[in-house]
């Protein structure tokens, strides 16, 4: 029983940063913007959160700073692709490369420094309940903030008028422009939301999951988040489900290594990534789900004057 609880809680733990990053990218892509810089934004968020956390001694300030750093990174992308009309794929890749280098540079002096981990909330009465307590009421604040965020994004995209406008812009920016919607402004906001979420996801790695700064510590999680958006066919709840599945496989392979199976650990560490690829291939086998849910203008620039 206890090991089951441990598996589930560590799955949630592993999935949280993916949920943040993937939800942010879902919103960005729904507006028609393909930002491949998630990995870079996460790394800069991670190093910023860590540095501010150490300097100020406040993890809250660290998280806020990480979100701001993420927004700053995403603004680089937005200015280049929206105002200067550069290619989105190339710019996103460049942003990731920039993020890797920049975070390594800034984080050089912080490598290996200890920092207190983001504390688990202790809810008197609830946390002490047997089984239910550790299962539901023993996480840090970021996990709990995640839940309203999921539902807020879901509500925004499917129910709100602003979300409808944004989806319309992602579908056909030229038609939206002819009706009179500010395509570029909305796309700026969507990219910035993605940046803030990616920054928080990065900070969650350096302040909660492995409370320290290690160069390149995201280890491809930004790319996984991008894949999860497709995995979830641009639907927030499915994206979250995908993040939990990926987190689950990650945890399982850790436990499997712990049990000492005679499989090389490198092979086991590979499993979550193989699982992602397999699932993506299975989803893409049905072009209808992709065509109906993928924003039609994804990755394409829009010139309002044309």
């Amino acid at each position: 029983m206890n090991s089951m609880v441990a598996v589930i809680t560590s799955t949630v733990f592993a999935a949280t940063p993916l949920i943040y990053a993937a939800l942010g990218e879902t919103v960005t892509e729904k507006a028609g913007m393909l930002n491949l810089g998630v990995e870079g934004m996460m790394l800069v968020g991670a190093v910023t959160g860590f540095a501010v956390g150490i300097k100020t001694g406040s993890l809250t300030l660290g998280l806020i700073a990480a979100a701001i750093a993420g927004i700053a990174m995403s603004l680089i992308f937005a200015v280049l692709t929206l105002s200067l009309q550069t290619n989105q794929v190339a710019t996103g890749l460049a942003l990731t490369l920039f993020g890797i280098g920049f975070s390594a540079f800034v984080g050089h002096d912080y490598a290996g420094m200890p920092i207190p981990s983001l504390p688990d909330l202790h809810l008197p009465g609830l946390t002490d309940l047997p089984v239910i307590g550790p299962l539901l009421f023993n996480y840090d604040v970021m996990v709990y903030l995640c839940i309203p965020l999921i539902f807020a994004v879901q509500w925004f995209l499917t129910r709100s008028h602003a979300g409808l406008k944004m989806r319309a812009i992602g579908e056909s920016p030229s038609v939206a422009h002819s009706i009179g919607y500010p395509v570029l402004a909305v796309r700026y906001y969507a990219v910035m939301f993605g940046g803030a979420s990616a920054g928080l996801a990065g900070a969650y790695l350096s302040l909660a999951q492995t409370p320290m700064w290690v160069e390149g510590m995201t280890a491809g999680k930004g790319w996984i988040a991008l894949a999860l958006v497709v995995f979830g066919t641009w639907k927030p709840l499915r994206v979250v489900l995908g993040a939990l599945l990926f987190g689950g496989v990650t945890v399982m392979q850790l436990h499997a290594q712990g049990f000492g199976f005679s499989i090389p650990s490198e092979f086991l560490s590979m499993l979550p990534y193989v699982a992602t690829i397999v699932v993506l291939v299975l989803i893409c086998r049905n072009p209808k789900t992709i065509l109906l849910n993928q924003p039609a203008s994804l990755g394409r620039n829009f010139h309002p004057t044309a």
Binding site: K165, R167, A168, E171, V175, A176, S178, I179, K288
Partner: protein, 516 residues
């Protein structure tokens, strides 16, 4: 002004210049409450520019707009909508993956609760005989249904003036009648309608008054009911409507054969082809009518080779099974092909006309051991330009610099001079002016007279009735039995266009088509 009804909209001396063209030159017109006013003219006569000015999309260089007796600058579509001007565009401005209600909510200037909006949509659609379900996704709707959405969207704003830009180009003849009823009801309620079209019959049936444009100027005003097609045409093109006639012709062997062609589409917005059978013989023109979106795109791709079909026998070119051949191999069998999109599929936009000749004409001596023989290529291009009177800056002009009609003449000319055994042409005169249309149609007829098999897929019924020997209808992915033109009528074809027909039985056709 006592005793006299004042016009709802009065345009005075509207002018608009673009670099190199005068789109509108001192145009004046008046529209009264409840009047259905036709704006008649060829492509490029300045109709669209004028309507864009009224709808606030472009600003005039000179002239005044009087709206309900007040001088008015209309600076944006939103402002036009506030004044009570609604517009239904020729190319719809709908979001395919959203529902009807969501599409309408996006275009409304005020915010309405989704439940209330759905109710209002149902109310309006029932009142004007335009049934639509607000919850449906737009991509699953036919073109006619989409137009209803656009109209309902305008009507929800209770317009005083409704602009309809070529509304019937996408409708079956029956749907046109329904649309006319709706428009008449609107006009009876006092709504003015500006009806843009180049179809003379429709204007005579529907409109109270007409303003005719030619070359950016008003070339005539008329009461259409009192005019004939000929007199309206003279105002519109300055000459009598040219005609082309089909002479008796001997019909030879099957050059394009389609047998039991079924093709599932992977595209959720596409149409699945179901058991299509057709034989086009040497020396005849077969027209395929139908509203686009009924499988035209898929059928064309399957015939040109852009889509490979499973059974080689499904497509026969000059007797050879071609179902699994690619476009180049099919061209090698003597097939020529004029696609619907001129720029991008018919021609490479930034490349010169002579290089565009090389694209499909490479086998006509333009290549030697893989090296381009430029002299031959240029001579071929010059030949096309001369024979088809293409207006351009010699063979060096980029394809994208030609007007639609000129480029179409060039492409048809290029395909014709390749001396095909069979030719497939999609929408031959879409967006092409009357003069060029006639030249293109005559070119197709000449090919037929020389014994080429010609297959024309077009949305313009009038055109098909002008040039076809036999005519068939493609609706919902099924192809009707082809009928001799003398055995059918516009009404029957119109009815078939909504899918009510029997298809050819495959067995009988098969015996006829399989090469011995």
């Amino acid at each position: 002004m006592t005793g006299v009804i004042s016009p709802r909209l009065a345009l005075t001396d509207i002018s608009k210049r673009y670099p190199g063209v005068v789109a509108n030159d001192g145009i004046s017109l008046k529209v009264f409450p409840g009047e259905i006013h036709a704006l008649l003219g060829e492509n490029g006569a300045g109709k669209s520019t004028l309507m864009k000015i009224v709808y606030g999309v472009t600003k005039p260089d000179a002239g005044t707009i009087l709206w309900e007796n007040r001088y008015q600058n209309i600076n944006s579509p939103a402002e036009a909508r506030r004044l009570g001007i609604g517009m239904v565009f020729q190319h719809f401005s709908l979001f395919e993956t959203l529902t009807v209600a969501e599409n309408i909510a996006l275009a409304l200037d005020r915010r309405i609760k989704p439940v209330l909006l759905a109710e209002q949509i149902r109310d309006v659609s029932v009142r004007y005989g335009l049934p639509i379900d607000p919850r449906r996704l737009v991509h699953s709707m036919s073109v006619g249904e989409r137009q209803r959405v656009e109209i309902v969207r305008c009507l929800l704003q209770t317009p005083k003036l409704l602009i309809m830009d070529e509304p019937t180009s996408v409708l079956t003849p029956q749907a046109v009648l329904t649309l006319f009823e709706t428009l008449r009801r609107l006009s009876a309620e006092g709504c003015s309608i500006l009806y843009i079209s180049h179809k003379l019959d429709e204007i005579r049936a529907l409109c109270d008054t007409a303003t005719v444009l030619r070359g950016g100027r008003v070339s005539g005003r008329a009461i259409p009911a009192k005019e004939s097609n000929q007199s309206l045409a003279r105002m519109m093109i300055g000459a009598d409507l040219p005609e082309c006639r089909l002479m008796e012709n001997t019909i030879g062997e099957v050059r394009i054969g389609i047998q039991r062609l079924s093709l599932r589409t992977e595209d959720p917005f596409g149409t699945t082809l179901k058991d299509i059978n057709l034989a086009v013989h040497s020396g005849e023109i077969v027209g395929i009518a139908g509203v686009s979106g009924n499988g035209q795109k898929e059928l064309l791709a399957a015939l040109s080779g852009e889509t490979i079909v499973a059974q080689p026998q499904s497509v026969l070119i000059d007797g050879h099974p071609a179902g699994r051949l690619n476009p180049a191999q099919r061209r090698h069998l003597g097939l020529s092909f004029v696609p619907e999109e001129r720029l991008g599929r018919g021609a490479v936009p930034p490349m010169s006309l002579s290089y565009n000749a090389l694209l499909t004409g490479s086998r006509r001596g333009m290549l030697r051991s893989g090296i381009v023989r430029k002299a031959i290529m240029r001579a071929f291009a010059r030949n096309v330009i001369d024979l088809f009177k293409v207006k351009c800056n010699q063979e060096y002009s980029a394809a994208s610099s030609l007007s639609g009609g000129n480029l179409q003449k060039y492409i048809v000319g290029r395909e014709t001079l390749l001396q095909p055994r069979a030719i497939i042409v999609a929408q031959p005169t879409w967006g092409v002016d009357v003069g060029a249309s006639m030249l293109i149609r005559q070119a197709l007829i000449d090919l037929r007279n020389r014994g080429v098999a010609v297959l024309v897929i077009s949305e313009e019924l009038e055109e098909l009735f002008m040039i076809s020997d036999r005519i068939a209808v493609l609706a919902q992915g099924r192809l009707s039995q082809p009928v001799l033109l003398s055995d059918t009528s516009v009404e029957q074809i119109g009815q078939w266009m909504s899918g009510q027909f029997d298809t050819i039985e495959s067995e009988r056709e098969e015996n006829e088509l399989v090469p011995a």
